[in-house]
Symmetry: C3
Subunit: 306 residues, 3 copies
């Protein structure tokens, strides 16, 4: 039995199969409408994340399966002091598969060691959020036709952004990726990512401060929000939060076939005027998130659809 | 694609069709048990309203469909600052139809402008609650056999009562309705309703202070609760809240075929002794609420059942 | 129509039938996978109890039925002042059966008097939690092969422990049960249980302070947690909470075929090292909880499966 803790859990070949399956689901959803009839997904969300939870639930319902669980620690009995290990052993008696979101890094990993059902890490603190990364990979492969030979710009909070770190690690397994990091000085990509992932594998990268300087060369612009809770003081947040706002004027500089991605929710880092640009891919990304979670559930449950 | 923002969105003819469909659902529920197989209703409740949410969910389950969503802003990620517009674009990727409850007036309307799935306004602040009005209309038509030629008394908080305002507007589209407003001086029906709706269309109405004075002439008595949160001070609330309590003694004055309605929840404005009176229709009203929501979901999804 | 308020609602014969049905469900789950197609269970949890709620929901899903409801009073509209009687009349229009958890003793009983659907008491304050007791009885009968001729040790908080009191009353209807109460002086089993249940029916029992003194004679050791909220002061809690911790050393004294049960969640009253002991039955108990709730739902809905 397999779990999903990190996007790197899958080999390149396994990932290809998963993304192929997601593509087939997109083209032929009716084939999969009863693939999980009678199966149950438990969503164990120790902190609220409506977007992620509903994506998992939509995925399971699309497969004909059932959903139940809890959406925040406040509405669960976690307060009674039960360990995550005991909770997952209980859930193993109730469900066929579960998605766990937890504010503590490593909690889903602990759960997976004693679980008798597949555990999907649906985000553990600042650590991992593998289904977001799978969503990003599917979006890129679907819209650009490949996962290699790309110039990708990553913009915003690159210091604390879990999503960005995971995506860099995931893309660094493919050939000829050039990374462009766009951020203020204070929020630059951490040194350990540059050293362990990029330099160790001889990936070219550069760091700039202004979107405009690199826009023409990008195949993908991956925007991220500046989270208020990551800042040490309010003053820094206010000074920096509007620094990197994508608008139509900046979009004019980009390639005709560039795509703009964003893990969402956005606050104001992408102006709503950009939404109408055909290169804006962030809402299509949400849809790919459902397909890839459907593929993931099928894969972990070892359900074959002919 | 259609949304439902206000009960007046439907023409009289469309409303007739909707209520006919609800009636057929009441008589032949088994015909509709699989009408929405594989479809998903998202309940997006930015403030709790268990009654309304469960009514929508029961309706969708009765049609064979699936339900998911959130029941309060606290258990959703609305706190992250996402706009309603962005949320509905996400939900459009997940669900086939949604019901939105929001404390801010107009939020469901904003959502409907960018949504690619039908949006049902499940109550927006003090503004509209159209499915309550549809429920009231179905209840009246089912139990009285008509929506015209009626004397209807509306009792309680007529100043702030959204439900009452909507029902008055909805009934003012039918012939020969006489309105009787029963309230304390401080909670009288607003002038703009009297002027814009009743006087402009030459509807007869009167305003009285005591239920007893008008009871014998009523075909319908629509009771409402006095909500603590509508009052400016506690003293006024305490003085007024018990002013208009319906009991068996007052019921003795009413017609044999009068019906008592209430949008529920009640606090004490209808004495529990009245529950056993066959004219008490407020719990049957709850059941009609499920039928009319089933009809509404079918109509907005354009699902035909033969 | 029947409700379940107390485990004693069922006669010994009815209980036998219920446990037989649960056993058949365990052996042939596929026979029951569509027994409740189209039916709806409402979970009305006025206080959170994730374990119990998910067990009911898993049970209903396993039967092919649907689930909806609320998981805490905060996310429901109970705050609007509606009585439990009115709520259940509303729910009767929405669901086919309901499970109610309420912090106030007797609330489910009040609900059952006006409900037109079966009500299951899913725990009412310190009063009753009958499906826990049914779970315990099924676990004992399944793992020990009988409900009579047993020596059962009950350990921990015997003064406030609702679960323990219910189990004692339930087992006191069978032949030749010997009760051994293991607790600190301050948390001894109440006098009224000893007098009304045990002495009135001539059941042998003893009270001891140390697990070790009685371990070799037990067929079942039923552990319970010491709940912080039951204590009058923090000092007492800290002094007593670790007093009765089961570990491998104490397990060495027990019979080879003894079983350890626990209603869960545990805090630290059973050391995790015991989990690997084949006599540890507390996680299997969770699974039996699902089977017995499936049997209960079928019984109350009068659904026959051939």
């Amino acid at each position: 039995m397999r779990h999903l803790m990190s996007p790197l859990d899958f080999s390149i070949e396994e990932l290809d199969q998963l993304l192929d399956l997601a593509g087939d689901i997109e083209r032929h959803p009716e084939k999969y409408a009863h693939a999980c009839d009678g199966k149950k997904l438990a969503t164990l969300f120790y902190e609220p994340s409506t977007r992620t939870r509903l994506s998992f639930e939509a995925a399971m319902i699309n497969l004909g399966g059932n959903i139940f669980g809890f959406s925040s620690a406040a509405s669960s009995s976690a307060a009674k002091g039960e360990s995550v290990s005991d909770t997952i052993r209980m859930i193993s008696c109730y469900a066929d598969i579960c998605a766990m979101r937890h504010p503590k890094e490593g909690a889903p990993m602990v759960a997976s060691t004693v679980s008798s059902i597949p555990v999907i890490n649906a985000g553990d603190g600042g650590h991992q959020h593998p289904t977001q990364t799978l969503t990003d990979l599917l979006t890129i492969r679907s819209l650009k036709g490949r996962l290699d030979n790309l110039v990708i710009g990553l913009c915003g909070d690159l210091k604390f952004g879990r999503t960005v770190h995971s995506l860099v690690r995931a893309l660094a397994r493919y050939q000829n990726i050039k990374f462009v990091f766009i951020s203020p000085e204070e929020l630059r990509i951490p040194g350990y990512i540059k050293e362990d992932v990029l330099e160790a594998n001889h990936f070219p990268y550069k760091e700039v401060e202004r979107i405009e300087d690199v826009m023409p060369e990008l195949d993908i612009l991956y925007m991220t929000r500046v989270q208020r809770e990551r800042f040490f003081n309010e003053e820094d947040y206010i000074r920096l939060k509007d620094f990197y706002i994508l608008n139509n004027k900046k979009m004019k500089l980009a390639k005709e076939d560039m795509i703009v991605m964003h893990p969402l929710p956005r606050v104001n880092e992408i102006s709503v005027e950009v939404d109408k640009d055909p290169r804006a891919a962030y809402f299509r990304q949400v849809q790919y998130g459902v397909y890839v979670r459907m593929a993931l559930i099928l894969t972990l449950l070892e359900v074959k659809v002919c």
